[in-house]
């Protein structure tokens, strides 16, 4: 354990030292220095293996906790590792099922489709038809994807997390911990990783997603083949189509990119504002457009959950953006745990008003990322701590906007949100408990208007 701690510390220090010339030995401007240290950390994390690659991915979805340079650098983290030989993967499958892949599937391709730090993915075909939890049956011979956790990945990740926890305890006592709580981040990271190591969690989310979107034939996710799945092996439907990185090919094939951009954005809002559970790791590789004009969500490794109360408050914050209402944004952000000290309220409200008025792009569409990320920096400038989850959601919405704009550059995600949030808040007005709570004040206000 001690030797692994030394390896971690020395790898990080060596990669930071390698960036000293780029940072002009500490004499460069602050953004240049931050970019150099971020690059060094990213390279060290890639070198240190799966646990650190995942830690980097977690940092990349937390712009509320880390600098822009570090978030951008971690976003470019490569989670592609050399594939393991087929024998190693076959032995995991045999350990899980007691038989080899040739007895489980009609065909099993030894050539991997992809190889990442935690799992490797192979193509196979079903030996027998299967009726999934939701959706139509998969026939015998259907193409499937078999995701297999790399042997030793769980043990090495758990070992590294234990070491990193000790190091986080040490960092917590230094001034590096001013902006974030390293121990809390490590705990959140450990929980996320444990979920990712048990592939059944991802499978269940996919089932739930299919159920949530049962009335929407344009939004799909892979169906799971449960008899051929365990904690370390997940068998799911093979999705045909184009990743968003291959969008030109999709356009050439006649896919309705504008329709899918609007629909994909609406589907994400439905996940957040209606169901309170959402895909929190959306990037162009996790979204497919298919030849029959549907949008497929893949890889539910990192997901976000909201309580009904959080969901309503977040809808109110989104409505505040739609209707440029700074007071509404302040009121409901407070309910989400964004506590602005009384002496800063006016300054934050003024900054927020400026942000709300400045979200329009030259083409007349509105820019959510400008507002969302600007709001997070504004809070940071005023020393306001941002609750866990709030930053993750804002980043996710900004990513959805980026993804939708990759499909159709003129899309206005704020305009897409308008009917959604208005309808939800309008429906909430009829809630009997709310009516009972608000009616006396409404009557008093009406009388005030009539009598003065």
């Amino acid at each position: 354990m001690a030797s692994r701690s030394s390896v971690i510390v020395w790898t990080v220090l060596a990669h930071l030292a390698a960036e000293l010339p780029s940072a002009r030995f500490g004499l460069a401007s602050a953004p240049v220095r931050r970019a150099a240290w971020a690059r060094g950390l990213r390279r060290a994390f890639e070198r240190l293996g799966p646990a650190f690659i995942k830690l980097g991915q977690l940092i990349s979805v937390r712009p509320d906790e880390f600098s822009d340079e570090l978030v951008a650098e971690m976003r470019s983290m490569q989670d592609a590792v050399p594939p393991l030989p087929a024998e190693a993967i076959r032995s995991v499958i045999e350990a899980e099922f007691g038989v080899g892949p040739d007895e489980l599937w009609a065909t099993f391709d030894d050539e991997p489709l992809a190889s990442a730090s935690i799992a490797q993915v192979h193509r196979a075909t079903l030996a027998a038809a299967y009726r999934p939890v939701w959706g139509e049956s998969l026939p015998a011979g259907a193409d499937v994807v078999v995701k297999v956790v790399r042997p030793g990945a769980a043990a090495s990740i758990r070992g590294d997390v234990a070491v990193a926890r000790r190091l986080a305890g040490l960092i917590a006592r230094t001034r590096l911990a001013r902006r974030f709580d390293p121990v809390a981040l490590l705990d959140e990271f450990a929980t996320t990783l444990e979920r990712e190591l048990d592939l059944r969690v991802e499978g269940r989310f996919s089932d739930r997603f299919l159920f949530d979107f049962r009335d929407d034939p344009k939004v799909v996710a892979p169906r799971i083949v449960w008899p051929k799945s365990t904690a370390r092996v997940l068998t799911m439907e093979f999705m045909r189509g184009w990743r968003l990185t291959e969008i030109e090919a999709a356009k050439a094939a006649g896919v309705d990119c504008f329709g899918l951009a609007v629909h994909g954005a609406t589907a994400f809002m439905r996940q957040v504002f209606v169901y309170g559970r959402y895909h929190a790791d959306l990037h162009p590789a996790n979204l497919f457009v298919t030849p029959d004009n549907t949008i497929a969500y893949l890889d539910f490794g990192i997901v976000g959950y909201l309580t009904p109360e959080e969901r309503m408050n977040i809808t109110q914050v989104m409505a505040a953006l739609v209707y440029r209402d700074a007071d509404r944004a302040m009121r409901y952000s407070e309910r989400l745990g964004v506590h602005v000290p009384p002496d800063r309220v006016e300054a934050v409200r003024a900054g927020l008003g400026t942000l709300l008025d400045g979200t329009t792009r030259p083409d007349g569409t509105r820019d959510f990322a400008h507002f969302g990320l600007g709001f997070l920096s504004l809070l940071g400038e005023h020393g306001v701590r941002i609750p866990s989850g709030y930053g993750l959601l804002i980043k996710s919405l900004a990513t959805v906007e980026g993804v939708a704009r990759a499909l159709y550059p003129e899309i206005d995600i704020v305009a897409t949100a308008q009917p959604f949030t208005t309808r939800i808040l309008g429906a909430a007005m009829g809630d009997p408990a709310r009516l009972r709570e608000r009616m006396p004040e409404a009557v008093r206000a009406a009388l005030r208007v009539l009598l003065t």
Partner: protein, 113 residues
Amino acid sequence: MTDDVMRFFAAWMLTHEVADEGLKAAVLRGDEGGAEGMSGGADAFVDGLAAMVAEEKEKLKRDLEARARGEEVAIEQPRDPALEEVRFEVAELRGRLDNIESLLETLLRKLDR
């Protein structure tokens, strides 16, 4: 007495007229400008909501006119969400049982060796 009744109805009519004009103005603001064309702030939400309610009203009007002409109007009957949730939970349970069955078979295979 007659005068009082007339005044009462006149006041009632005037109230309706003013409320109706206010609502129409809100619908127009919400409809024409979208969020961008509105002044922003708390009232903008009311305008946006009014515009959506007006849309729903027009749809209702069209449905009623179609029905008056004797046409069939499909009324959406959403399924009972509680029942749907139960359906999903039962299906999910079946998935878990499929998974457990497969694990038990694996266990037996390993014990047989």
